[in-house]
Symmetry: C2
């Protein structure tokens, strides 16, 4: 029985992508070879990498605007240090909206002075700070668009005069944003883009090459750009599966169409959280994420019953992160509204029973 | 038609591994979930990571000897800088046996002084230097056990009093070595271990923590050890497929059994190179790699005919690297002796026709 997978990441991808990726592990493009055993320098794979990179620019509407697309390794955690290695000469501004922002600040601190422009730590990160100042003297400003653990999401981004760097790991390709606002976007693939094992970087080339330190080749964006994201052997299967997912997204109607669906899914679940007297949401209403809904039972005595009910319904991955407790429903692009309806039904059933 | 895949990497893996990995992309362990969509913190995946790490120690006979196993990202290219970041305080000795050693030397040079103890660059790396001195004052000595591009292989390793670091990307798990000689072994997975996208590190814990610089978390071996190789989301599918390949190797009888087969395969091909008057080997005889055989036609006029013949026979990936030219037959663990026999037949056929 196929599960309703609400896992926070790695997470659900489109079923058609699983099917095609599975077939390509046996025989890729009817070549008689597995996607896992072909040279990354072969035309077949270079085509995959090129298509993945152009689909990113097309879907984000960044074609012809000076951006380069890279599929790297090491996750957002490696980008925490790599952005600073490449961009931080003196000081940078960071908005602290949760666990991942905090880690990004820690890693960047090895390379320069960090100005935490605002933080929502005072309320265990259940809101997005607003109205902060960003000095013109900073090398860049860094923010996290969506906070998977706390279920908050930036609905607007500040207008600033320094380069803006954004960790979009958990909501890229899920909603329409003017991506031209950003000078560097990075995202671990394992939410809306593909399986774990590759990291997307979209960078405006003209912000690079301005720091005085020497950068090791593998940590240098310019080196990867110079080799069209193939400086060394790329994580071929993860890039291939990401390309399939991007193709799927385009076929759905792109980000505009998926955003409409994501809004519906989120509305369905948040309405239940608000109307059902047994549950309460964690994030403040205006900052609620459409990707990750965090909520809990008001009466913890119902936990055992509720947990048995959602598991019985075929739901997977609903436990909240230990920093928040309760539940977290991650509703990434590939999750159907039917799966959300199953969860909402279980929540209503619990109300009837309780 | 299934190909005879002599690709240098990514390369052939066991057919049973392709089948099982393909199935798990659809449904892993009959869980109703793809291996690509499960949480890396789930018991199912933690079991995969644990099994992969213990199979490595078991197969290398390093159990209970103070070694830790990590599955990281970024390839050997990231290890070039990471080894230096973690181990290089003043100066290190490097043996230069080819393209990858040269790159390792370049990256390490950003972190300290490099003493190139010997080099075979004078003969385009067609041999392994011997009889060099390694000073006791070095922080460590670094070597490359097998040179994929040039087809040479270290048959013995120096006895030294400083830690020995070895890039074994292209021959780990292919032959019996006393692995206790080494303090740190690293290997990009995409030869004998698994698909591209993960990098194996086997490190003796007591050599770490001795440099004075601060190390970013993702580049710090101690951080990864402290989190049992799960500091951040690992490249789950690449680790899983590596685990399947290690299981396969164990079922074949381990490294001892595969080495016997690898020796037979290499002997079959090198005998033909030596006996067939149309071909000549590139590497000097005593340093020939059992993984990658480099050779060329004596008369380049036969190139078109020979190329058509091996392609017709279903052979893939035989072109040599541009630094050497000619041909390169990579005979990794999963390549059958039948595939080598097909290549040898084509070479004999050419001799009869020419």
């Amino acid at each position: 029985m196929k599960k309703h997978n609400f896992s926070a990441g790695p997470c659900i991808l489109p079923q058609d992508v699983f099917k095609e990726a599975s077939q390509s592990v046996l025989d890729f493009n009817e070549s008689g070879l597995s996607i896992l055993e072909i040279s990354h320098r072969s035309k077949d794979f270079v085509d995959v990498m090129d298509e993945a990179r152009s689909l990113v620019l097309e879907l984000l509407q960044l074609e012809g605007k000076g951006y380069k697309v890279l599929f790297l390794q090491g996750g957002a955690s490696t980008q925490f240090l790599m952005t600073a290695y490449n961009l931080l000469e003196n000081s940078a501004g960071y908005l602290n909206t949760g666990t991942w922002s905090t880690k990004a600040i820690k890693e960047a601190g090895l390379f320069g002075s960090i100005n935490e422009v605002a933080s929502s730590k005072d309320q265990n990160f259940n809101y997005i700070p607003k109205g902060y100042e960003i000095s013109k003297d900073l090398d860049y400003f860094h923010c996290t668009s969506n906070n998977t653990i706390f279920g908050t999401q930036m609905k607007a981004f500040p207008t600033i005069s320094v380069p803006m760097v954004c960790d979009m790991s958990s909501d890229i390709f899920s909603r329409q944003i003017d991506f031209l606002q950003f000078d560097l976007i990075y995202a671990g693939a394992q939410k809306n883009l593909g399986p774990a094992g590759t990291t997307l970087v979209v960078v405006k080339e003209d912000i690079l090459g301005k720091v005085s330190r020497q950068i090791p080749s593998m940590l240098d964006y310019q080196v990867h750009i110079g080799k069209s994201s193939m400086f060394n052997t790329p994580p071929a299967f993860a890039v291939y599966t990401s390309m399939l997912t991007l193709r799927w997204l385009k076929a759905q109607g792109g980000i505009k169409a998926i955003e409409e669906l994501n809004e519906k899914k989120a509305q369905l679940l948040y309405s239940e959280i608000d109307v059902n007297p047994l549950f309460k949401g964690f994030a403040v209403e205006e900052d609620r994420s459409i990707m990750n809904a965090t909520f809990s039972l008001i009466n913890e005595d119902l936990k055992e019953t509720f947990d048995a009910m959602w598991k019985e319904a075929g739901i997977n991955g609903l436990n909240g992160h230990r920093s928040v407790g309760g539940y977290r429903a991650s509703m990434y692009n590939a999750l159907t509204i039917d799966s959300v309806a199953v969860l909402v039904d279980v929540m209503s059933d619990l109300e009837r029973k309780a």
